[in-house]
Structures are given as structure tokens and as C-alpha cells.
Symmetry: C2
Subunit: 436 residues, 2 copies
């Protein structure tokens, strides 16, 4: 993308309403703009990141055997009356009436709808297990939306729902999502730690939150250092195999949020292994048995010919929230430092002297070499502005082309994460970035 | 995807409420399920098609220089009061109030919001031209939703909005979208004909509908045969160049819907070139000048230092509607006949004797060769059921593996579009399909 033609509006001033780093940086870098309280439009830079995050989530759900569907945003109140949650949900549910005065709502989650959908087709134990997920916009009418996309009202969530014949099967599904979540966050360059959680209004008896560590995190967490050092992506996962060893590794070490913190258990962790840090919740998984299947009348013919009520779980990832959380974990004074896998563009080509035929030609050549995962700063602007914008927008690599370098066939390469700069031949710069 | 584990629920009976072919076939093939009147959940098979259609739309918008953003579904009533459309829109607009009693609505379209968004950033004529698009769910509260996804209430639309300095620029943007639309529909295997249209409630003075031809189409259309014979994809397009010759070709031949049909002009078309057919609207483009920019207070500093109110156009494609329209144009008694580019899977591997070690091994080998764009019918079911389901779901290629063929290293290949069948060696079958 050429910056001279792009819709990438940066802000010089920090908007007063933005209290946290990700909110400030997303506004300043022109990633999003608020259109109503807690409701955001995603501009091209932000939209690219959101799509990359979404795609990683999708690939890991697919790899774990979940199947993608798409449920609508608008649901009938009747569905929620069946589960008893219509009255229980409170003012966070956005309720509305259609032109025929039928009571509807903008879905805050989909347990009821997916159970009803599944009920329409599952007749036999042979139709189990299944895990269905979708990535769809939800609405929760927070009384005081804040922190930008971290706590918006309209937000993008991946929610998966598993259906199993029995508790053993449901626990296997739970472990599959547990492991898929570890991989999902690791691929985004995040350290995400599963921590035992209360099940809250969803109900059930087994639940983990996935918390990423960031200095600016919303809550205090306590964990064993082993968990930080484990390399999640170092070995392939067989989702049909026994995942207990992986889950056991994570659940046998101490990890707790403030709410669940247990001083006595914490004291058992050797001092040099105790890590206390700030954390941000980015995912939450639940096993809740037959709570919804029983309420909604879902049952299948079991292997012995008797009806069986499937055991269910649900598994959420805050996709739009993750964009903010990644920034909270990856920024400095100058701006965002995107992990490579979720950067809006991998490379920024900075032409320091637009209009000079040698720098123009070399810049075009480099831009072409990295396209389409590159942005070309071809604006007629000062070098300082270009450096500042590239740092703010946080592209992992910057290739800087000035007239002196262009004459000598050299460019400067900057790695945003470390700040390292190096002068290289054009060929070496291309090789270095493409190989990274 | 293995059918034995997939969530691909077919129906044996045709649902009584489905009046048109695409609606019947989408329900029978398990592509969608209605969750409320005119509101659908997309099941895995339908969701794959929707994603492929969406991706083609996206690629052609990007190629034409439009930039993708994502605006939210929920908008404030205030925005629509500025343009005067809040009261004008009528009961098709889904209106609601949030917990603070603020008037909101589920967006049926986005002229107001995008103009307000653009106003926040565009200061100078150098910030023009820009074309911003998004692919987002919309809601129009139809009084009698019907025809499945062809006329649903919650539907996926691609809407683009162009901003130009003057009328000449706006016409250039209009032509870019005109050509991008021709290519978009052609890539989906559709014959789409632009026809002059009324501008309706959007306003403005130039507008074309894009109509695809299908025997089961909703309206009568009249056109010159040249338009059907033109091969849109045969040459590359330079969107920065002059697109007038392409647009002139299409607009100088007769093409009209029933409403605009002009018997006198039609009589000028030589009889052998007259084609009258049934059509379905799948896209609509508008040039409406300063209608929204003036109403919403958008202006930029012009080249001479005076304020200029940008000229705008908007450009819509019914993405979810297209899935139905493609089926209307591509089906027979047995089911859907997907064009290759939008098929949910390119190949179906039919194992006629599950449990036989030779057919199982050969089926697995073929499935692996075509994955991930293949579905494997590994169910323990009769051959007749497998043939019928594959025809119904409409995969472009079927590879049939029976025990006799497996012993001889042969498979049967069926091309869904033509019904042609051929016995081939395994290697030839793989080569044939991969090369297609």
C-alpha cells in the first residue's frame, strides 16, 4: 500500500479520553475510530491486524477439529426464555423489537442458538462428538464502555461449542480447546497462561481463563516461572491423541488471578519460581455439562437405544480485544511493536527523498519485492515524520532509502522490536527480511 | 473434511416454505438454517461458499484501488438525522434504544457513517480521491422476508464509498467500480449485465444495476446479445488508465429491466440480437454527487485554497444474496452445480465400500491429494445415498472409488456440470482435477 493514497490517518495529539496505552496508540496510529460510545469503526491499518488475528484463531480451531459456521447477530427472545437467561441477563443485553413487535436481541453469546441449531439435526450418538464455532460480532451494553476495543460494546468474538455423548468425551473436547488456545496465543507472540476460573453466569463446573502478561494489565496474577518458559509451539500436537500430559503440565503448576489467589498454596512455590505480574484476559473456556442441552430439549439416541442428553462446553476468544491486548504487551514510548505474525504490514519502505530519481527507483524496487505485505511511505514529507509514523504504526521491519545510500546501492534496515539498525546492500536487505 | 465427522446435515424432504430453487437446495444441502423469519445461520457448507464469494469480492475491490475498513453494525440515530434519512427510512430500519435510552439502529447501509468518518480526517484536496469499502452484516426489516438468503432481513453486503474532488474524478471512480463489478461476477461464473437504474432513496443522477441471468430470475430483462458474448476476463484491466472504452461498450448496447424497458429503442436492436430473459439483481452502483457530503458538512481545502465539497458515489454487492443467485443460475433436478471458483469443495471423494481395506486406502490417498479443498464421503452408507448427496451438494468433481476399480488402480471421475463420467487411472484422475 502506498501511503500517499492510503486512508491511514494518524493523530499528532493523544486523545484525552484514552486512558490506556493500546487505546491511545490505536487512535494515534489511525487503526480505529469510535463512532458511538464503545463502538468502533476499524480503519485499514486496524482492519488488517484484526483479520490476521482472526485467521490465526480460525486455523487453530480448524486444526483442533472444530467446524466453522456463522450464526446471525439478531436472535429471538424466545430462545433465551427456554434457557431462563432472558430475564436473568440484565441490562447488558441489547433488547429490541422488530416491526411486528416481536422481541429480539443482539446476541451477547450463542449457547442457546447453537444448542437449538444442533437439536435440529443430531439424532443419534453417531452424530457426536461435534464442535461448532463461529467468529461473529457480539453486543454487550456495558454501562461505562472504556479502554477502547478492550472493553467495547460491539466486539468480535470467536465462540466454539462442543457436544459430546458423555463426560469423558466432553473432557476430551475441553482439552482440545485448551491446547488450541495455548497455540493460538503463542502464534501471536503472546505468553498466555491458563488459570482456573469461576464459571459465572454461563454455569458449569470446570473453567479456565487464558491470561496474557502485560505490564499495563488489568489485574494481578501469580504463577510458577516454569509456565513462562515452556515453548508451546516447539512440538506438533495430535488432537486425536491423549492431550492430558499437556493439560496436566499447565494445571499442575501454580497460576491464579487475584480473585482465586491462595496464599497457602503460593507459599509452596519456591521463591525463585514465583512470578507475580499484571495480566489481561483474552480467552475463557467452560465445561458446563447438560445445563443448556437439558433446558433446550436436546437429546440423541444413545448406543443402547436410550435417549442421551449431550454434554456441552463453550470456548471464547475475544478477537477484537486481542488487538488491544497485543499492543498492551508490545509497545514502547514511540509506538506499537507488532509481533511479526499479526503486523498490519511486515515491512515499511521509507523513501527519504521523494522526487529524487535514484531513491524513487530503489524504493519502488524494494516495495515490489515485499508486496503485498509492505507499506511504502512515498509521501512528500520530512524524514522525521516518516520515522515517527513508522515507529508509531510499529511495522516489524523498516527499510530506509536515502539519496546517499541509493547512490551506493545501500539501504538501512531497522528492526522495530530491538531498535537495531544496520546498513546493508539491497540484495542482503531483501534476503534478510524474506528469511525472517 | 470427512463426512463421517462433519456437520453437514442434508434434508430428504423439501421444506414447504421454500418457494424457489436456491432456497430449497440450500436447506436440503444443509447450507443454512433459518433461526427467525428472514434470519439465517450459515452451516459449514454454506459458510465455505459465502467465504469464497466474499474473497472474490474483496480481491476485485482491492485491485480497483478501494481500501477495506469495517464499520460497526450499530449506529446512532443522530447520524441519520443529519442526512434527513432517519424519519424518511420507514419501518425497514431496525430501530432500538440502548440502556441509556439513546436512539440507535442496526445499519441498513452506511452513507452517513462513512461520510462522518471521512470528515474526521480529510482536510485537503490531497486526501482525495479515496474509495473505502467494507463487507458487513446489514439489517433491513422486510415486512415479508422470503426466498431464503435472496431476501433475508440480516444479510451480508459489500458497500464501497468513493470521495472525489470533482465530477470528473467521481465518474472515474464510478467507472472503476463498474469494471470491478463486471470482473467480480465473471470470476464467479456468472453472466452479469449492467442496466441503467433509478437511483431511488439513495438519490443522485447516475446508477446501474448488475443483473445476472437465471431462468428462475425475479424480473424480466431485455438485452443485446453482444453483451452475453463478451469475455470480461480475457484481458487485464489498468484501473489507473482510461476505462471509458469498457464502460462505453456496455452502456452503448441495449440492456434494460422491465421497469426501464423502452419498446421504441428495443425495436432498433436487430431481431437476431434481441435476448429477453429472467434476471436477478446482485449489485447496484450510484453516483450521487454531494448529497451526503453537503448534508453531513464534509468539505476539504481545494487546490485554490477554497473549500470544496467532495463528490461521492456508493457501490453495493449483496454478498449473501449472491450465494442464492449463483444457485439459481447453476442447478438441475439433482441439486446444485457449483462453478469451480465458489464451490464449497472442489472435489468429493466417494468411497463406495467403507471398511474394505483397498478402497479405504485408495480413498485416503485421493483425499490427501486434494486436501484441503476436498470432502471425503467415508460414511458407512449405500452408494446411492453418496451419489445423491454429492449431486445435491454440487461439488464440481466427484471421484468414485469402488472395490473393483481399487483392485485395478482405477477410479471413476464425474464432472458435475456436464454429467460426464470417465474411468481413469489414479494418477490421471489426480492430474486431471489438479490441472482443471
Amino acid at each position: 500500500m502506498r501511503l500517499s493514497r492510503a486512508f491511514l490517518p494518524t493523530l499528532k495529539e493523544t486523545p484525552a479520553e484514552a486512558q490506556i496505552a493500546s487505546h491511545r496508540l490505536m487512535l494515534r496510529a489511525g487503526m480505529v475510530r469510535q463512532t458511538s460510545a464503545g463502538i468502533y469503526a476499524w480503519l485499514p491499518l486496524g482492519w488488517r491486524v484484526l483479520q490476521k488475528v482472526e485467521q490465526i484463531v480460525r486455523e487453530e480451531q480448524d486444526a483442533a477439529g472444530a467446524q466453522e459456521i456463522l450464526m446471525p447477530t439478531i436472535q429471538t427472545a424466545d430462545l433465551w426464555r427456554q434457557s431462563g437467561r432472558y430475564d436473568a441477563y440484565g441490562p447488558e443485553m441489547l433488547r429490541l423489537k422488530d416491526r411486528h413487535e416481536r422481541e429480539m436481541l443482539f446476541g451477547p453469546t450463542n449457547e442457546e442458538m447453537v444448542t437449538d441449531l444442533f437439536k435440529g439435526y443430531a439424532k443419534s450418538y453417531r452424530d457426536l462428538p461435534r464442535n461448532l464455532y463461529h467468529i461473529q460480532w457480539k453486543f454487550r451494553d456495558e454501562v461505562r464502555p472504556r479502554f477502547g476495543v478492550m472493553r467495547g460494546r460491539e466486539f468480535l468474538m470467536k465462540d466454539a461449542y462442543s457436544f459430546d455423548l458423555d463426560c469423558t468425551g466432553a473432557q476430551k473436547s475441553y482439552r482440545q480447546m485448551f491446547v488450541a488456545y495455548l497455540r493460538t496465543f503463542a502464534r501471536m507472540g503472546l505468553k498466555a497462561i491458563p488459570m482456573q476460573a469461576d464459571t459465572g453466569p454461563i454455569g458449569g463446573n470446570l473453567s479456565h481463563e487464558f491470561i496474557i502478561l502485560a505490564e499495563t494489565g488489568e489485574s494481578q496474577v501469580y504463577l510458577h516461572k516454569d509456565l513462562l518458559e515452556f515453548d508451546v509451539l516447539s512440538r506438533p500436537v495430535d488432537y486425536d491423541g491423549d492431550l492430558s500430559p499437556i493439560v496436566d503440565f499447565w494445571t499442575s503448576r501454580y497460576a491464579a488471578t487475584d480473585e482465586k489467589h491462595d496464599e497457602a498454596a503460593w507459599a509452596q512455590v519456591p521463591g525463585e519460581s514465583q512470578v507475580s505480574a499484571r495480566g489481561i484476559e483474552v480467552g475463557h473456556i467452560f465445561y458446563f455439562g447438560t445445563k443448556y442441552s437439558a433446558a433446550m430439549g436436546l437429546s440423541v439416541n444413545g448406543p443402547e437405544g436410550k435417549p442421551v442428553v449431550p454434554e456441552m462446553g463453550s470456548y471464547g476468544i475475544g478477537v477484537s480485544r486481542l488487538v488491544g491486548a497485543i499492543i498492551e504487551a508490545n509497545h514502547d514510548e514511540a509506538g506499537i511493536r507488532w509481533p511479526d505474525a499479526v503486523a498490519p504490514f511486515k515491512v515499511a519502505v521509507l523513501n527519504l527523498k521523494k522526487g529524487d530519481s535514484a531513491t524513487d527507483a530503489l524504493s519502488e524496487r524494494l516495495y515490489a519485492a515485499f508486496a503485498p505485505d509492505a507499506i511504502y511511505d512515498d509521501r512528500e514529507d520530512r524524514a522525521g515524520v516518516k520515522f515517527a509514523d513508522a515507529d508509531l504504526m510499529g511495522y516489524p521491519w523498516q527499510v530506509v532509502i536515502g539519496p546517499r545510500g541509493a547512490a551506493a546501492g545501500k539501504v538501512e534496515l531497522k528492526r522495530r522490536a530491538t531498535g537495531e539498525r544496520e546498513e546493508l546492500s539491497v540484495e542482503d536487505a531483501i534476503t534478510r527480511i524474506k528469511g525472517a
